[in-house]
């Protein structure tokens, strides 16, 4: 297992947002996390990279227990790429500079080598012609593809996506999902919090339905979407498709 989550609890003040999550994810698995707003799915994802402090329980990434004080969290994080709803690009750096930043500053990759790899990644996400452009001059879909290329520049073992298409105009969603589908086909381990049920159904190996801070139901996408066992899942899917 590349990700193990054991009895994960998370409080914000007195509010318990995650109420004992248990979950194992295998290498090369694509897991899509769905559920209503406020169900804890983004908090769960952020706990996998310790962007949220874990109140109790364990998160083990590639054998490293994030809750162990002896663990070098930043070292573990270098192998976990993260993509956000709002792109989170550095606005004062060009597209290529955004992609090159971490390999050069963290992995000490020589600049020319990082540039070459950066250009390859931009080609992979279909943005070869935007290398010297600043993020403000890109569409949302283009910015998100840069964010994906930037995350890939560190050669991560795991990619975490937090509603990567939610801030996009509908006509731009497809280009981002296409890049994510390619990654899944290449065998990347992916955890994707998403409202894109079509993507979850088509690309996910497993779908997790979260509600009120717990995993209410999980399983094969076909089973979750065609024959959900729990009434909450049925009710959520009815609303999504209505």
């Amino acid at each position: 297992m590349i990700i193990q989550v054991k009895d994960l609890h998370k409080y914000f003040g007195s509010l318990e947002v995650l109420k004992g999550i248990n979950c194992n994810i295998e290498e090369r698995e694509v897991v899509c996390v769905i559920g209503p707003s406020g169900s804890g799915k983004s908090t769960f994802l952020r706990c996998l990279n310790m962007l949220e402090e874990i109140t109790s329980g364990q998160v083990i990434i590639n054998g490293h227990d994030l809750t162990d004080p002896k663990t070098d969290i930043n070292m573990v994080r270098t192998e976990v790429g993260m993509v956000f709803q709002r792109f989170n690009l550095f606005p004062h750096k060009t597209v290529l500079e955004n992609v090159m930043l971490a390999p050069v500053k963290v992995r000490r990759v020589p600049v020319e080598e990082a540039r070459k790899k950066g250009l390859e990644l931009l080609a992979k996400v279909g943005l070869s012609d935007k290398a010297d452009v600043y993020p403000d001059n890109l569409s949302g879909g283009q910015m998100q593809r840069v964010a994906i290329a930037r995350a890939l520049a560190m050669n991560p073992k795991i990619m975490l996506f937090d509603e990567p298409t939610s801030a996009l105009d509908p006509e731009l969603v497809g280009e981002v999902l296409a890049v994510m589908k390619d990654l899944a086909r290449e065998g990347m381990t992916m955890v994707v919090v998403t409202h894109e049920m079509g993507f979850a159904r088509e690309v996910g190996d497993r779908v997790i339905f979260m509600d009120q801070g717990i995993i209410m139901e999980e399983g094969d996408p076909e089973q979750i979407f065609s024959n959900p066992q729990h009434e909450r899942t049925r009710s959520f899917l009815r609303k999504v498709y209505s």
Binding site: M82, R86, N88, K105
Partner: protein, 31 residues
């Protein structure tokens, strides 16, 4: 004396939380 305005790119840094501290900030100096 102008000490400049220190801006932390918090939201951008979340994507690369392992960046060294010095890279997480930029300083804009105003005249």
């Amino acid at each position: 004396m102008n000490s400049g305005l220190k801006i932390e790119w918090n939201y951008a840094v979340e994507a690369l939380p392992f960046l060294p501290e010095g890279v997480k900030y930029t300083v804009i100096t105003a005249d």
